[in-house]
Assembly symmetry: C2
Homo-oligomer: 344 residues x 2
């Protein structure tokens, strides 16, 4: 089959790799109908040293089950399914707590002999635990929306949930990428009254407004913080959802959060340290979040997509075939595209 | 009156200062019966550059009300009262949320024309909000225990509460100072089943065991972390109470905490950065805590002292007169004393 391989920074290739097949009784093979490129794929795309052992890319996909191992009970060939961005048995101690990203049998797509999601098919370990059946056909117009259950919608929701967003809350979302926009959707779902979106890309922040942002702050740094404070009676917001991962975004988050408030960080950290010293200790700031256990949220969020009350698939502003995926990486990296949908 | 002044590192003097008197209608003047030296007093004691504008020291005290301003309603001369380590009006938006350390009218002892606690008397701003009446006489044997409501007991309790300690939990307490020992008391009060105390001072960790620690880990760094993991089936504890403030203690805390768990930091941070990178992001660790709003907890904790179910005053292992307080600083700094009680 064809799959996406990263050979180094700016070197994405689509090549033939071995067709996936059942190896373990708990496996399924899924033919991919839709996948996409993640903002987090851009980190290695920008920085991976050249290698002869390329990374198989992609961790967001949905598709049709083609084959299942002898031990698989919950899904069967022909099912349309979505996969969270890590696989998990969904039965271990961590999974039962809703922390499938720490599953003792879990792992990441594209590593350890498991295919990546930006290809034609995937062997899915622990298929019963990992995959969630979608009650639609493979030609449904909702598929782009449902694909966001794989990562970004659940990641934005994880930010809002772990930050403790409640009805009537004030929330700042730092970052107008796909995850930031999903965080806006999520804050609104949880009843936030004021949602301040910090971002400077007009097309994206306009989509953020459509998703529920009540205010947009295009300024960054000290000016951005001052603007958030202006919008909140000088106090900052009780919840801040940090959807970028860079230190500047964290600094902005600490500046935007009210004393006693919570920052939830779901942007993959690009630094080993967090600027969290005495002044914010005196203000009793909490820093929470982390990699989102998407699997924990899929069933909870799916109904909002099915009934049309949220439309997260609007983040996809470009669609490409698999063979053209290198153009998709380039477009996202150059901020020409917000998020690229791939139809293998 | 006599008061304690810090003129620079290792330069504590007891000198005459102006007698406190009522300045504002909400003030009270309290004659101090008991005060003490805090671990956090040792930071400036170790590092303050020589100055002609000495700091008036001390933020933990209890005593007898001598005078009240015209606006004071809740207390009257003769009352025995304890003060939290910051003053607050206890009516503002933050105070009503239990975050009196962010009171819009609050402040710290020894600053801005307000006396420190290591003296003979104190002018107490916002006396109605700040002071809590004690239902004992000034000769009560419980006074040392009740004095811990001023800071260390409430600080340890803040760690346990913000970490979310619940019945049956496993908890690691990092640090065997007075706050660490108070955190042990607090974790036990909240029903923790396993309380691992990390500390290497035998006398202190023995007291920790008496307070409820089920295990003591004397090792530090990697060995200490490995030992905590051994004691917890390889996972670490769900809650870690960081009661030191140094980066090493934070590193230990991140090592000791279970995936999905919470570190509450109440040791005053001595570094501007927290070592909290990608690996702990992947484990969904929460960092919470901060300076304890002691005022929020005093009424809740006092009954446990009055009925003898907790005895936090056992952390005081030396008593001195005010004139000898420099010896007390030295003894604590040299770890000859755990916590020094001062009788003016």
């Amino acid at each position: 089959m064809r799959a996406t391989l990263l050979y180094g920074a700016d070197d994405v290739r689509v090549e033939d790799v071995a067709d996936p097949g059942i190896r373990n009784p708990s496996d399924a093979v899924v033919r991919i109908v839709l996948s996409c490129i993640c903002g987090s794929d851009l980190w290695p795309y920008k920085s991976l040293p050249p290698t002869d052992h390329p990374r198989q890319m992609g961790h967001e996909f949905l598709g049709v089950v083609e084959d299942t191992g002898a031990g698989v009970r919950g899904i069967r060939p022909g099912d349309v399914v979505v996969a969270p961005f890590v696989y998990a048995d969904n039965t271990c101690e961590y999974c039962r707590e809703g922390l499938q990203t720490s599953c003792v049998h879990g792992g990441r797509w594209g590593l350890d002999g498991v295919d990546g999601g930006q290809g034609q098919a995937v062997r899915v370990p622990h298929a019963d635990g990992t995959l969630v059946r979608l009650p639609v056909g493979e030609d449904s117009e909702l598929l782009p929306d449902l694909l966001t259950l794989s990562d970004i919608l659940c990641t934005g929701y994880h930010a809002a949930r772990t930050a403790g967003v409640r009805r009537g809350d004030s929330v700042t979302v730092v970052g107008d990428g796909a995850v930031g926009l999903a965080a806006v959707i999520s804050a609104k779902l949880l009843g936030a009254e004021q949602i301040i979106l910090m971002g400077r890309h007009r097309v994206r922040t306009d989509l953020g407004r459509a998703f529920g942002a009540t205010d947009v702050v295009a300024d960054r740094g000290e000016e951005g913080i001052a603007r958030v404070r202006e919008l909140t009676g000088g106090q900052g917001t009780r919840r801040v959802l940090e959807c970028v991962g860079l230190t500047d975004a964290l600094v902005q988050s600490f500046g935007a959060v009210r004393a006693g408030g919570t920052i939830s960080r779901v942007g993959a950290p690009q630094s080993a340290d967090v600027p969290f010293g005495f002044a914010d200790f005196l203000r009793n700031i909490t820093l929470t979040g982390g990699v989102a256990p998407a699997r924990a949220y899929i069933e909870e969020l799916m109904p909002y997509i099915l009934d049309g009350s949220i439309t997260p698939g609007r983040v996809f502003d470009r669609t490409m075939g698999l063979e053209d995926i290198a153009d998709g990486y380039r477009a996202m990296n150059d901020r020409q595209a917000l998020k690229v949908l791939i139809r293998p």
